[in-house]
């Protein structure tokens, strides 16, 4: 028993497999980013910057891995407060790009608080549920809901539909995993159904033009190839053109010739799919599923509520981002601007994702700690 405790505090096979998987996916991401942007001739090409972000992410990973997650969780509320302030600052002082104001400039870089808000929200909710027994639908649903709301509103105001949806998804998933009495679930469903028309009206009314157009374009991207459905159609063309074996590295004409916009960020999957084909896509999906499967093992063996909730939150966030990103590039969902975890270019997202994975591995590391 003591041996296992000692072993579990050091590296084991599981850790190697986990970290190995993460590194492989990161590598695929960097390769794809390199493929799209290598001919831009910038002094600091995107792939090099991405490697730098990964190095920073690795630091975050190690910090989150090696600290005690209980201590981290204790910082959840203050952290959430800080994030809310940053999200508010972004609205006033932020840098806009393509109609959205999401970034706080720090020197030559831009920091995206909404990415970190996701992780902080997971910490906050996990902390909330594990601190005391939460009984009754008020404590289980409404109070955490009120916790989520300010962050959600601030993010939607930017507007960042993708992060907002991730926020909601994390909340819903954690609610589901904490469990509700069937009665509470029924009440929520009923209310949701009743409120849906109003909510839809409010949603639609509050959306920015480009968001509405994106959703319209989702319905029929071929309707206006040069216009709003452009991204969706070009992305589908890129993926489809990959066929079984792909066009090979640098062979993706869709991305190389820039028909596919945002090939290094939100649409990096399309680039990969065009160059590596269905076989490559299958391999990538298997990598992601395996990573999540391993993560679920961590939840299954978690020894306390906090750890399990943290792990579940992180897994759900990852799953949501992977599924929605691939789904939107493949034309199954509207384009909502969610990056593909570990693959899309972006400092905030990369660092946040790697920090989350560090925290995940931390839960596994601590699972026997209280003996």
């Amino acid at each position: 028993m003591i041996d296992r405790v000692i072993n579990s505090r050091g590296f084991d096979n599981f850790d190697f497999r986990f970290i190995g998987l993460v590194l492989v996916i990161l590598g695929i991401g960097v390769l794809s980013i390199y493929s799209v942007t290598h001919d831009q001739g910038a002094a600091f090409p995107f792939f090099a910057k991405q490697i730098a972000w990964i190095v920073l992410g690795a630091v975050a990973f190690l910090v989150m891995w090696l600290s005690d997650y209980h201590r981290i969780a204790r910082l959840a509320y203050p952290a959430y407060a800080i994030i809310l302030i940053l999200l508010a600052v972004v609205l006033f002082e932020g840098k806009s790009s393509r109609g959205a104001q999401r970034w706080i400039p720090i020197g030559p870089f831009a920091f995206q608080p909404s990415e970190f808000a996701k992780l902080v929200l997971i910490l906050t909710l996990a902390h909330y549920y594990s601190k005391a027994p939460r009984v009754g639908w008020l404590q289980r649903v409404v109070l955490p809901g009120l916790l989520v709301l300010p962050g959600l509103l601030l993010i939607l105001k930017q507007p960042d539909l993708g992060s907002g949806l991730s926020f909601l998804a994390v909340y819903a998933a954690m609610l589901l995993m904490v469990g509700m009495r069937s009665k509470a679930l029924g009440v929520i469903l009923l209310f949701s159904l009743m409120l849906f028309p109003f909510a839809w009206e409010m949603m639609w009314g509050s959306l920015h033009d480009y968001q509405r157009q994106r959703i319209m374009a989702f319905v029929d991207p071929a309707y206006d190839p040069g216009g709003k459905g452009y991204h969706a159609l070009q992305s589908r063309i890129a993926i489809g053109a990959g066929e079984l074996t792909g066009k090979g590295l640098y062979g993706g004409t869709q991305s190389q010739l820039k028909f596919l916009p945002e090939g290094h960020t939100d649409f990096v999957f399309s680039v990969f799919a065009e160059e590596w084909g269905f076989l490559g896509v299958l391999a990538l999906l298997i990598l992601f599923v395996t990573l999540i499967w391993l993560s679920l093992e961590i939840v299954a063996r978690a020894k306390d509520q906090l750890g399990a909730l943290l792990a579940v939150g992180i897994i759900c966030m990852l799953c949501f981002c992977v599924v929605v990103n691939i789904g939107m590039t493949a034309g199954m969902f509207p384009i909502v601007g969610i990056p593909l975890p570990l693959m899309s270019y972006g400092g905030s997202a990369t660092i946040m994702t790697m920090a989350s994975l560090g925290l995940l591995l931390n839960v596994k590391r601590r699972r026997l700690s209280f003996f």
Binding site: G240, L260, I292, A302, D304, Q305, A308, V323, M332
Partner: protein, 624 residues
């Protein structure tokens, strides 16, 4: 540590619920997999196709039109490089913005640009927005290239007419194919923006001269920037044309008319070759080949002088006394008269209650056919016409090529009118009046002819009754093979006349110049035969010619051939409202014929002499 253990039952519950996540994850990933399989495997080839098209843009390479030379190789129409602005619609993200930018940058008319960008047609093919950009404009566009996705500046060959207005009606001009034309089968292989001949030889021989467009497939990025050329299908230049006209003679003919309205046609009666065909006023085909604004176009169309009208083949005038040439042949052939039949002319011809005047108030006295032609006696031909009847006159007029197309290789030739009872019934729904036969017998009344028909008629007489279809193109050079193909002259018709008739008429026509109404055409250089004509334009004729306002004055005709012994040139001169044929038109014909004779004598045709200068020196030589 204590708190963590308190909710172990909840932790267990949570861990049991993981199955939801596992099943959900597998389900969703399976869905993704199916979707991707559908996209990449089932529809993969379709998307592969789309992606191939996505990266290539077809660019039409306009062919260079064939060059046009005169019979001696003097260049009449060539091509000069010019910048053309194209917009590739597929690469335009924001059309309104682009229109704004182009308007600001080049000062284009936004309405016009919008029309071009939204015109029907393939979205794949770039739209031509403006041609003949100046170097400055082209540079301006190129330097803003990054801000103007989809905008391309291509170097293309632009039609150029070095002679300016010279031979404008003959050469014609070019222009963009119109939407109506595009619907027709003969323009099937063209596209919006293609240049086709819209007038003259350019139009008639468009198929030869046009050439074949090539296509360049260029790989572009999403901003429309050319990355590299993938496939090139070369454009094939059009064939070169060698016209029958002599640029030097053409120039002289045009200068002879000067500022007057009118037409001069010179044919080689032995082949039908059109040696010169002048129509005044003219236009500058360089201007018309450019894109005109509706206002510019309206100005040209509404110009009182109707410069776009080719008076040689489209102007219709009463032939006046020139008609008597045909009348004489008809009268002899039908035995209405013999060469010695004498008719007394006292200055008028009474028919019913009306007196038909002779042009000479006192009359010509007793005249036979030769004298009637030489003096152009009206009463003689009133009598002959009255005896022959309108139907006989009409059938001979048709033999001489009147009332039908000469078959010249120019678009929209007019045929004139050869009146008859049937014609009048059909055209006016009225019965033929006997008095109208009398007017018709001196080429007045309903009779209408074109100067080209008159030239052909006198050429037929000169050529002893054999009519050649007037032709404009001597040879065609295939640009691809460099092969020069001569076109042979084909006789069109031979007059059915007894052999002694035409020599009699030719002799009389020689007399017209020697001693008759056209002594002003008498030349020391060459023997000329001819016939004057004065076509009345209005019945209101009072007082001497010079007091009548110009627009009511008569048209002055003169037809001629030379040398009388072995004719090599037949000429028809029509001066609108220039008065008497003998005084106004005969000297012009004489000068033209003399020029021709001199040119034929100089064995090496001087190219520089004939090279037309730019427009503006018209009217250098006096018209009269």
């Amino acid at each position: 540590m204590a708190t963590t253990g308190l909710y172990d039952s909840e932790l267990g519950e949570l861990q049991r619920r993981l199955i939801i996540l596992r099943v959900g994850l597998l389900l969703v990933v399976a869905l993704l997999g199916v979707r991707l399989w559908h996209l990449q495997i089932r529809e993969g080839p379709y998307y592969r196709d789309l992606s191939e098209n996505n990266r290539t843009r077809s660019v039409i390479m306009e062919p260079a039109r064939g060059l046009i030379y005169d019979r001696n190789g003097v260049l009449l129409a060539n091509n000069v490089p010019s910048f053309t602005l194209y917009v590739s619609l597929e690469d335009v993200k924001d059309r309104d913005l682009l229109i704004d930018q182009l308007t600001n940058l080049l000062g284009l008319d936004p309405v016009l640009v919008r029309k071009k960008l939204t015109a029907r047609g393939s979205k794949q093919l770039p739209r031509k927005v403006k041609d003949r950009l100046t170097l400055r404009e082209a540079t301006l566009v190129e330097s803003h290239r990054l801000d103007l996705p989809g905008v391309m500046v291509q170097v293309e060959s632009q039609r150029n007419y070095p002679g300016g207005v010279m031979a404008s009606h003959l050469l014609g001009y070019v222009g963009e194919v119109s939407p109506e034309q595009l619907e027709k089968p003969e323009f099937a292989d063209l596209h919006q923006g293609s240049i086709v001949g819209q007038y003259g030889v350019e139009k008639y021989f468009d198929r030869l001269v046009r050439g074949q467009a090539g296509q360049k497939s260029i790989e572009v990025d999403a901003l429309g920037h050319e990355k590299r050329t993938v496939v090139v299908e070369q454009a094939h230049a059009g064939d070169n044309l060698y016209l029958t006209i002599d640029a030097r003679l053409q120039k002289v003919a045009e200068n002879l008319l000067g500022e007057e309205s009118g037409a001069i046609v010179a044919l080689d009666p032995r082949t039908g070759d059109v040696l010169a065909m002048a129509s005044r006023p003219g236009f500058d085909p360089n201007v018309l080949s450019r894109e005109l604004t509706p206002k510019q176009w309206a100005e040209i169309v509404q110009d009182e002088g109707r410069p776009l009208n080719n008076r040689a083949s489209q102007g219709q005038y009463p032939p006046g006394s020139v008609f008597k040439v045909m009348m004489a042949a008809a009268a002899l052939e039908t035995n209405t008269i013999t060469p010695s039949t004498s008719i007394h002319c006292n200055g008028g011809y009474q028919f019913g209650r009306r007196l038909y005047h002779d042009w000479k108030a006192g009359g010509h006295g007793s005249v036979d056919l030769r004298r009637a032609l030489v003096q152009s006696c009206d009463v003689f031909f009133y009598t002959v016409g009255q005896r022959m009847g309108i139907e006989t006159m009409a059938s001979f007029a048709h033999q001489f090529g009147l009332g039908e197309e000469t078959g010249i290789e120019l678009p929209s030739e007019r045929i004139g009118i050869v009146p008859s009872a049937a014609w009048k019934l059909k055209a006016k729904n009225e019965a033929w009046l006997p008095g109208e036969t009398i007017s018709a017998s001196i080429g007045q009344g309903y009779v209408n002819v074109t100067p080209l028909q008159m030239a052909s008629l006198i050429g037929t007489v000169a050529n002893d009754g054999v009519t050649f279809r007037p032709r404009l193109v001597r040879a065609v050079m295939d640009r691809a093979t460099g092969e020069l193909q001569q076109r042979v002259a084909v006789p069109k018709r031979t007059l059915k006349l007894r052999p002694e008739i035409l020599p009699l008429i030719k002799d009389a026509l020689a007399g017209v110049v020697k001693e008759g109404t056209a002594t002003r055409a008498k030349s020391a250089l060459v023997t000329i035969a001819g016939k004057t004509g004065t076509a009345q334009t209005t019945a209101l004729r009072t007082g001497p010619e010079k007091d009548i306002p110009k627009k009511f004055r008569d048209h002055a005709w003169f037809v001629a051939f030379a040398p009388v012994e072995a004719p090599t040139i037949a000429v028809a001169v029509l001066g609108e409202h220039m008065g008497h044929g003998g005084s106004a038109s005969a000297p012009l014909a004489k000068e033209l014929i003399e020029t021709y004779v001199k040119l034929s004598q100089s064995l090496s045709p001087s190219v520089t002499d004939g090279t037309p200068a730019s427009e503006g020196d018209a009217g250098g030589r006096g018209a009269r």
